[in-house]
Amino acid sequence: MLEVFIFSTLNGLVTGLLLFMLASGLTLIFSMMGVLNFAHASFYMLGAYFAYSISLHLGFWMGLIFAPLIVGILGAVVERFALRRVHAHGHVAELVFTFGLAFLIEEAVQFFWGPDTKNYQSPDILDFPLFTLFGQEFSAYRGFMIAISVGIFIGLYYVLTRSRIGIIIQAAITHPHTVANLGHNVPFIFMGVFGVGTALAGVAGVIAGPVLTTFPGMAVVLGSIVFVIVVIGGLGSLGGAFIASLLIGLLQSYAIASNVGMPDLLNLVGLEFSRDHPLTDLWTLTLPQIAPILPFLLLVLVLIFRPTGIAGKREQ
């Protein structure tokens, strides 16, 4: 029991931190532009694919450096030449545009790389067990994922709260006109933040590609969950996104590892149903079975009872 608990905690941590890398960029972009970027997970997918192509020629580490750069530049271009244009038509148009972009990127990925799964491998250097616990190995690559994610979180936090650039960004989010009057190029700052946000998604893609498999559907798999996190954490709140990422990561990991279900619950209250009851699917439900829908259940509940999320600001 203890080993299951420890390993699902570790796996939940890996997933949660990975989700945070996506959510942090998404929530930054949201607080800046007031629009949820549907294509955010698509940039994550692009990161994985670029890194795969680079790793074929130059190895994994070059992919880790260059793929996020390419993705970040691509994101900045999208902001500069498309999103800024759509911005004039209102928030719905922006949301719909990013939705269309996500659709287009998925098709483009299939066009350039094909619909099949790519054999994107983690580097050989990290191909050893970091430690062995209760006879189960924890791979060094997962440890590396945790290290990178935590490093990015600390770096991002430091830059945003301690550096001059971070202070300007924070000011530009709340008081764009004042910041512009002080002589800063606000549209350029926005473009930069969008680029950095998508580059972070790219990093997540690079390091998640080998573990979560690189295929054209990988954006869809993670996309809506990242949305859930950003909303549960409170739109625009970095700290909230961090808590929500870990929460969702751990929740899913525990739910998958557990083996409780409706039959146990019914036994507890002394009820029993035969197999051919019309609602048999309901009486035989198990927790691992509903693990994929738990985040969405949580999302709906949070939106109904606390629409501002864990750490969101009260709406004006």
Partner: protein
């Protein structure tokens, strides 16, 4: 009275088109496409009740379509086993009622707010229902879905609906009724208030309307008509799967409504027709039609924010003032190079796709290994791009002179 006569004429023309289409195009393929269009039109119009008229961006509208469809298929099965006994022409109504029921339940908590909160709840509900449909196998049939046979039950005036063309007329009748009622809904106080709440919920609340209740009414109506579309889907295909209530279908209806034009009642109809045509015709010619669809969607959002209907309506002023003719030549001068540019671009995309083999593009054999083909396309695209760019100011000028309102005109409009 004059406007009433004019409006009746439009509706009669609509009915005429619906009834006349299978006489003009009577191939099996055409009938299949028309049936798909009928479903898509109702579905897209119902979506526009939410987004276009009510200002609620939904990412889970397929839930009501799918639930209505599933219940319709189950009702067909019940008719087959004679649990219930009525003609299948009422099946879409069953779907609609289920859609309404689901919308009443979900709308009771999701319509508190519009905007991002509503969009996120709809996304969450959509994912929840789609995921649950794979868990509750006995109702949703798992990945395989459920199927039925529509030919049981009492015949309707001797028609037993063996053929698709018979289903077409049934579908056309439902499309006409649904379109008419959805249009009439926009004319009711509830429909008008939906517009008011969309534009300024605060002001609507100040004059005594509950924004939430107004949204709720629109939401339920949209769910009802989406369910009708689902019921029609069930009748047409005689099966339904989990795919019909998941995010893909929800996304598709958003695409249809947006490409068609959200601000106009006719917009979603145009969008549904275009997308169905692309879906069934373009897919015969190229495997990449989804890519082109994506490009078209993104370009529409970028350059035609009011969709195709908005583009057509943009010419209203020029038309009323009799200056539409003066726009024709500038349109041709800019449009032709744009078309050539698009064709050259598509040719290059296809060359990339057909790597290492010869294929025919518009009757011209092309090969990706042949460098001169690449050169030809690039040069063609470059020339077309330049031509387009050079002629754009002229088009803009012609547009402005056609739409410029002189002093007298302004006064006339003001009075």
């Amino acid at each position: 009275m004059k406007t009433l006569a004019k409006k009746s004429a439009i509706w009669l023309a609509y009915l005429g088109v619906l009834l006349g289409l299978p006489l003009l195009f009577d191939s099996i393929l055409a009938i299949t496409i028309f049936n798909q269009m009928a479903i898509a039109i109702i579905f897209a119009l119902s979506y526009n009740m939410l987004l276009g008229q009510g200002g609620m961006l939904s990412f889970g509208h397929a839930v009501y379509f799918g639930l209505g469809g599933f219940m319709a298929v189950h009702t067909l099965v019940m008719i087959e086993y004679e649990t219930v006994y009525f003609s299948i022409i009422y099946i879409p109504l069953i779907g609609g009622l289920i859609g309404l029921l689901a919308a009443v339940f979900i709308g009771s908590f999701s319509t508190h707010k519009a905007g991002t909160v509503f969009a996120m709840i709809s996304l969450g509900i959509g994912e929840l229902v789609a995921a649950s449909s794979l868990i509750f196998v006995s109702f949703f049939g798992g990945e395989a879905g459920v199927n039925a046979d529509r030919t049981y039950g009492p015949a309707f005036f001797g028609i037993e609906f063996f053929q698709d063309s018979e289903i077409y007329y049934l579908g056309a009748a439902w499309v006409f009724i649904a379109t008419l009622f959805m249009y009439l809904f926009t004319q009711t106080p509830a429909g008008r208030m939906a517009n008011a709440v969309r534009d300024n919920p605060e002001r609507a609340e100040f004059i005594g309307y509950s924004a939430r209740r107004v949204r709720f009414i629109s939401f339920c109506a949209a769910g009802f008509f989406a369910g009708i579309a689902g019921g029609l889907f069930a009748l047409n295909y005689e099966f339904i799967t989990e795919e019909n209530l998941n995010a893909v279908t929800s996304g598709r209806v958003l695409l249809m409504a947006y490409i068609g034009g959200l601000g106009y009642f006719i917009g979603p109809i145009i969008g549904a027709v275009i997308l169905t045509l692309m879906n069934s015709l373009l897919s015969n010619y190229t495997e990449l039609w989804m890519l082109y669809l994506g490009i078209m969607f993104v370009l529409t959002v970028l350059f035609l924010p009011r969709g195709f209907a908005g583009f057509i309506m943009m010419h209203r002023t020029a038309w009323i003032r009799g200056k539409l003719g003066s726009l024709l030549l500038p349109y041709l001068i800019t449009g032709l190079p744009a078309l050539v540019f698009a064709i050259a671009g598509v040719a290059m995309i296809e060359m990339l796709h057909h790597e290492g083999e010869v294929f025919h593009f518009l009757g011209i054999p092309l090969e990706s290994a042949n460098l001169s083909h690449w050169l030809m396309c690039t040069v063609l695209a470059a020339i077309a791009y330049l031509g387009c760019k050079r002629s754009l100011p002229q088009l803009r000028e012609a547009w402005e002179s056609a739409n410029a309102i002189d002093e007298a005109g302004e006064e006339r409009e003001a009075s």
